[in-house]
Symmetry: C2
């Protein structure tokens, strides 16, 4: 990999050769893959990119830490749509708003970007088995991407994981261990098992390549906006790996001169579980929190990638916003009704944050914002039905239909 | 629309000017949109198509019945991935197999193609409200596509519709009437309501434009195969509109000289509800059947588009195959494990049919087959979990993990 220099510890600065099975620094710090941007500048231009027909995250090969002869993993991950949400922008009172629907990835979440990278690197490492712990989406995306590549998976999820995600795992043929405990407990058991059996590790806070997969969401947003930088990019935050990846992608583009400034990040967490935002807001080190939110994917009381995430929010001069479960579910309906986008609770938390910031006057008519929807609402149908209510239920009779409309005060349009 | 001649009745041959609110013939027959292929040949070449960056169904504008100034509807429908499924082909004993994952459309089914067309035509007609009856997917796709375009929807579904689809409908803000009865009952009530209030009609067997949306799946398959025609294309069949649309797309491409022969269709139905296949197999007119299958999207006892569907299967010298619910759920697991594709029961029925035809020796090593997965498994999680079982559930303890593996006879790979 001529374009990759090394993995560098974000804590102590020690560097490591970029072997495919790289994990953390001996000091315990997380590694960051470091590139030779001068070399990349000499191999990648906006024009070469524009001419590419590969509509997946792998169109950005020059910015990804894989060997030139490593094949693209089988599933078509990335290049999800970016919609300009004019109606929603008007309703919220923000200047311009775009919604990136990453729930349209193959296993229906942004995590496919990291799992595809895990599959690519596991193949380079010659591994036959990949393992991870996950609140659900990393799990189902790993199971799907690995199955397509003929790799076996062992996957640890907390028992609270929604049924949709478990159904995916089982269908993709993973060996699934549902841990009766928190995400923290789940992570620890997976760590012990991975140490014991030497499986390829897809835990995003351990394996430094995974953020590099996630960063492709930033590369796409900017290419889809024709390199016009928005003022803000909003995203939900749990473990911290995704917002760190998003920031990495933006910095990469800045370093190679594709964008001339950096947007500010909006870190959206659930009020019931916001250890990272609390650290930013108080200026104190982060401390563990309970996992009190229905947004299961970001119910992470002990964020495993706090260092990179806090650095990203601070470096970008970012905003933090914490939203209640009610605000999350209201954002789910709002996105559905105005954009035709159905996000899972954690998936729409970024949008809930944008709405709240508008209400607080911290965002307004002069601001341009991208909101990333990180997962599909079909993964957690139970909560959606709770939020939206049940349909009118009647036998097939016109009179009963008229009665039902009248009872509910529905004035029928023509 | 210079490239569109008229709508022509498939029963009596009467033609109608292609107004945007066209429905059925006065004889009750279904209309088929008829094109001026000579004109299309003069405006569309393979090279112009290859150069297009529009990765949605609207890249095929020259073959679609919309006015030149009608805007693309907002959601990015179509251009779903076509995967070559080498492992699965080997397991089944078929020469080559490709899987088209249409569950990755914006609302997670192929029906988005028809609903996007409905939105485009409703706008041309100046309509503010669209209505339909549906087993579920047409409904949720209409609700999502219409919401994104700012149109209101009234939607009729049978009460058996899976929760995932209902959750989508409610989130997209549709007025949903859940009819306590069969799909037939549901269709009749929707018809009465549409007649009464004059809503734009998205029932695919009434509105002749919708098949034209669905046909884009065929256009994409052929472009993705670089115009190399497979021997067969397999798809599940309910109402009959989808297979008719698939065939229309293939015939269009043949008429304009983009492909030099036509593939044979494989019509896959559920054993418990196969009125169209029964008609082909017996040579008798189709008769209604019970709706005895868990594949809800194709549980259609009274197919509304029997004429076009039967014509398509016969014209293509197609194969019919009927599969049991067990065979459907086995195909769901098989696709998940070998391809990382998670389809809903009706979505994988085409693949179940291919498997059965291989077992029967009707398909083999010399045949090349495309199998269309028409909807996402996340829409019907309950059936997937029933088929795949539950994960290992334990507290976070290494000894318990070892016990659980031992009890289940899991030999852990490294």
């Amino acid at each position: 990999m001529k374009h990759v220099l090394y993995g560098k510890c974000v804590k102590c600065g020690k560097t490591y050769a970029a072997a495919p099975d790289l994990t953390t620094c001996e000091c315990g710090g997380i590694l960051d893959i470091t590139y030779d941007y001068d070399y990349i500048k000499s191999t990648l231009t906006k024009d070469t990119l524009a001419a590419r027909r590969n509509n997946s995250m792998w169109r950005y090969r020059e910015l990804l830490p894989v060997e030139p002869d490593t094949p693209d993993p089988p599933l078509r991950v990335g290049w999800s749509p970016l919609y300009e949400a004019e109606n929603l922008a008007r309703q919220l009172g923000v200047g311009k708003l775009w919604v990136k629907d990453d729930g349209l990835n193959p296993t229906a979440s942004l995590k496919d970007r990291a799992s595809a990278m895990a599959v690519a690197k596991a193949r380079e490492a010659g591994a036959k088995v990949i393992a991870c712990s996950s609140t659900g989406n990393a799990a189902s995306s790993l199971a799907g991407n690995a199955a397509a590549a003929g790799l076996k998976t062992y996957i640890f999820v907390p028992s609270r994981a929604p049924k949709g995600k478990v159904a995916q795992l089982m269908t993709f043929g993973a060996t699934v261990i549902s841990v009766q405990g928190s995400y923290e407990d789940t992570f620890e058991l997976s760590k012990q098992a991975i140490d014991r059996w030497g499986w390829y590790n897809r835990n995003a806070a351990i394996n430094p390549y995974l953020s590099e997969g996630k960063k492709t969401v930033a590369l796409e947003i900017m290419e889809q906006l024709n390199w016009q930088v928005p003022d803000y990019i909003a995203i939900s935050v749990g473990d911290g790996c995704t917002i760190a990846g998003l920031w990495k992608g933006l910095k990469d583009l800045h370093a190679i001169g594709f964008i001339d400034r950096l947007p500010r990040l909006i870190s959206a967490q659930a009020e019931g579980c916001c250890p990272l935002n609390r650290a930013i807001e108080t200026g104190e080190p982060w401390r563990p929190m309970e996992e009190n939110t229905l947004a299961d994917s970001i119910a992470v009381g002990v964020p495993r990638n706090a260092d990179k995430a806090l650095m990203a929010i601070r470096e970008s001069n970012g905003l933090t916003v914490n939203v209640s479960d009610e605000e999350i579910m209201a954002a789910q309906k709002l996105l559905g009704r105005t954009c035709g986008v159905f996000g899972e609770p954690a998936g729409v938390t970024g949008t809930a944050g944008v709405k709240k910031l508008c209400e607080q006057g911290r965002l307004g008519e002069h601001d341009t914002v991208v909101s990333v929807v990180t997962g599909n609402g079909l993964k957690d149908v139970a909560n959606a039905i709770k939020a939206c209510g049940e349909p009118i239920s009647i036998p097939a009779d016109m009179h009963l239909l008229l009665d039902a409309f009248a009872q509910r005060g529905i004035r029928v349009e023509q």
